[in-house]
C-alpha cells in the first residue's frame, strides 16, 4: 500500500469491547486519514484509552471490525467469524505501529540508547552498530543527543517521554499512538514533549493522540472526536468542536477542562 492511495490509515466499524460484564466500547465508528493528527478527548472512563489499545491489539475487541492500513487488526475474517491471529502474526502487525504510554514504560535496566536500539536489534535483526547510530540520530531528533548513555532513572519525566517517542520511532512506524503522553508530567515539562509531537506531525506522521491538552488539539490536530461512555459523541475539526460544541455532553465536558 503506498502513501498516495486513499485507504484510511485506521478504520473502525462498530467496534465493541467489554471487560467482563462492563461494556467499555459500544460500537465505535471512525476513520483516520493518512498523515493526519487525530485527537481523541473525553472524560476518564469514556473508553478512549481502551480504543487506542485495541488499535495495536493490546486489548482484543469483542465485535466489529478494526482495520489498520486496510488490514484487520489481530483477526482474520472467514464468513461471519473473526479468528484471532497467532502471537507471531500479531507481533508482526505491531511492528508498524508505534505506541507512547502515559507512564513512559521505558525499560529501566537499559540506557536511553539501549531502549531505542532494543526493538530494531531484537525484532528486525539490525546489526548493533547500525542500530546504535540510528538511536543516536533519533535521540538527537527529540533533543536528547547528550543523554544517550543515561538510565531512565537519571532522566526527568519529560526526557523519559521523549526517549519513549524515539524508541517508538526506531521501528519506522506508519502510525503512532499516543496514550495521554503528558498526563504524568509536571506542568513545566509538558511543553517539551508537545514540541516533539508537533515536529513529528509536521513531518507528516499519522498520529492518534488521546489527550487532555486542548491547546495542542486545537493547534496541531486535523480531526477530533469527543468520546463519552463508550461512544463517539461528536467529531469534526478540532477548532470547530472545541469552540462550537453541538452536543450537551461535549459542552459540559469542555466547560470543565477549558
Amino acid at each position: 500500500m503506498s502513501d498516495t492511495d486513499d485507504t484510511p490509515m485506521v478504520k473502525a466499524e462498530r467496534v465493541h469491547k467489554s471487560f467482563g460484564a462492563v461494556e467499555v466500547l459500544k460500537g465505535i465508528d471512525l476513520q483516520v486519514r493518512r498523515g493526519e493528527v487525530f485527537c481523541v478527548v473525553g472524560p476518564s472512563g469514556s473508553g478512549k484509552s481502551t480504543f487506542l489499545r485495541c488499535i495495536n491489539h493490546l486489548e482484543k475487541i469483542n465485535a466489529g471490525r478494526l482495520y489498520v492500513d486496510g488490514e484487520l487488526v489481530g483477526y482474520r475474517q472467514r464468513g461471519n467469524k473473526l479468528y484471532e491471529m497467532r502471537e507471531r502474526e500479531v507481533a508482526a502487525q505491531r511492528r508498524d505501529i508505534g505506541m507512547v504510554f502515559q507512564r513512559f514504560n521505558l525499560f529501566p535496566h537499559m540506557t536511553a540508547a539501549e531502549n531505542v536500539m532494543e526493538a530494531p536489534v531484537q525484532v528486525k535483526g539490525l546489526p548493533k552498530a547500525e542500530a546504535r547510530e540510528r538511536a543516536e540520530e533519533l535521540l538527537e531528533r527529540v533533543g536528547l543527543g547528550d543523554r544517550a548513555d543515561h538510565y531512565p532513572a537519571q532522566l526527568s519525566g519529560g526526557q523519559q517521554q521523549r526517549v519513549a517517542i524515539a524508541r517508538a520511532l526506531a521501528m519506522d512506524p506508519k502510525l503512532m499512538l499516543f496514550d495521554e503522553p503528558t498526563s504524568a508530567l509536571d506542568p513545566e515539562l509538558v511543553g517539551e514533549v508537545l514540541d516533539v509531537m508537533r515536529a513529528l506531525a509536521e513531518d507528516g506522521m499519522t498520529m492518534i493522540v488521546v489527550t487532555h491538552e486542548m491547546g495542542f488539539a486545537r493547534e496541531v490536530g486535523d480531526s477530533l472526536v469527543f468520546m463519552d461512555e463508550g461512544v463517539v459523541v461528536e467529531s469534526g475539526h478540532p477548532r470547530e468542536v472545541l469552540t462550537n460544541p453541538r452536543h450537551e455532553r461535549t459542552k459540559a465536558f469542555l466547560s470543565k477542562v477549558l
Binding site: 507471531r88 507481533a91 505491531r94 514504560n105 525499560f107 535496566h109 526493538a119 532513572a153 537519571q154 521501528m171
Partner: protein
Amino acid sequence: MSLDLDKGRDEVAPEELTAVPVRHWGRWIGAGLVIALLAMVVWAFANAKINWNVVGDYLTYDRIMEGALNTLWITVCAMVLGLVLGMLLAVMRLSDNPVLSSVAYGYIWFFRGTPVLVQLVLWYNLSYIFDTVNLGFYKNEMNDVMTPFLAALLGLGLNEAAYMAEIARAGIKSVDSGQTEAAQALGMNGTKTMRRIVLPQAMRVIIPPSGNEFINMLKTSSLASVIYFDELFRAGDTISSRNLAVMEMMMVVSVWYLLLTTVFSIGQYYLERHFAKGSDREQPPTPLRRLRQQLTTFRTKSRVGGETV
C-alpha cells in the same frame, strides 16, 4: 543556683550558647553487660578441654579439603538444577494453561511438603521399587545408576526447585505490566519479552533470596552424609570416629562452612550490584573502593561540621 541561671534567658548572647547532647546511660550499661558476657564465653572456651592442635592440623587435611570441595560441588550442581527447574516451574505456574499451572502447583506442594532428608533417602533407595532404569535409549541397573552423588543431586536439587519456583514467581510478578505492554507494542514476542525485558528486572527481586537459598544449600547438603555422599560433614564425622576428637573435628568442619558461606556472601553482594543497574541514580561504592578511599584520605577523616579538625 548558679550565677548564669540567675542572669535570665536574654542576658546570654546567642553565640555563647552551646548545645549539650542527651547522655545515653542505658547504652553504656548495655554495652558493659554484653562485653562481660562475651568475656565469660571466651574464658570458658579458653579453659575447656579442646585440643587446638588437632583443629589446626586437620583444617588442611586431605579428606577434609576433599569434603569441602564435594560440598561446594554438590551445592553448585543442586542449585543450578533448582534454578533452571524452578524458573520453568514459575513460568508454568504463571501460564494460562490450567494443566501446566496445576502440575507446577502439585510439584511445589509435594516437594515443599516433605522433608528433604526423606527425599534424599527415597532417591537413594529407588532400586527397591525400580530395579532397572529404562529410558529407551539407555538401560541399566538402578543400583549402578543411583550413586550417592546422583541421589544427593536429585534430592537436593528437586527440593530446591520448589523453593526457587516461588522465588522466581514473586520476581516475575514484581515487574510492572507496563513493561510487557511496551515490549509487545514494539513487536517483541512473548519469549523475547520474557528474556530481554521481564527476567532482567525480575532478577533484582530474585537474587537476594536466591543467595540465601545458596547459603542454606551449602549447609543442607550435609544431610547427604546419610546416603554416604562424601561431603564435608561426613569427612569430619568419619575422621572423628577414628581419632575420637569429635568436638575438634566439628570445629574444623564449622570453619570450612563459615569460609564457604562468607565467600558466597561477598559474591552475592557484587551480583546484586550488577542487577541493580539503572535502579538507582548512582551506585554505592563497593566495600573495596570504600576501604581504598578511607586509606587515601585518612588524614582528613575526622571532620566536624564540614571543617577539618
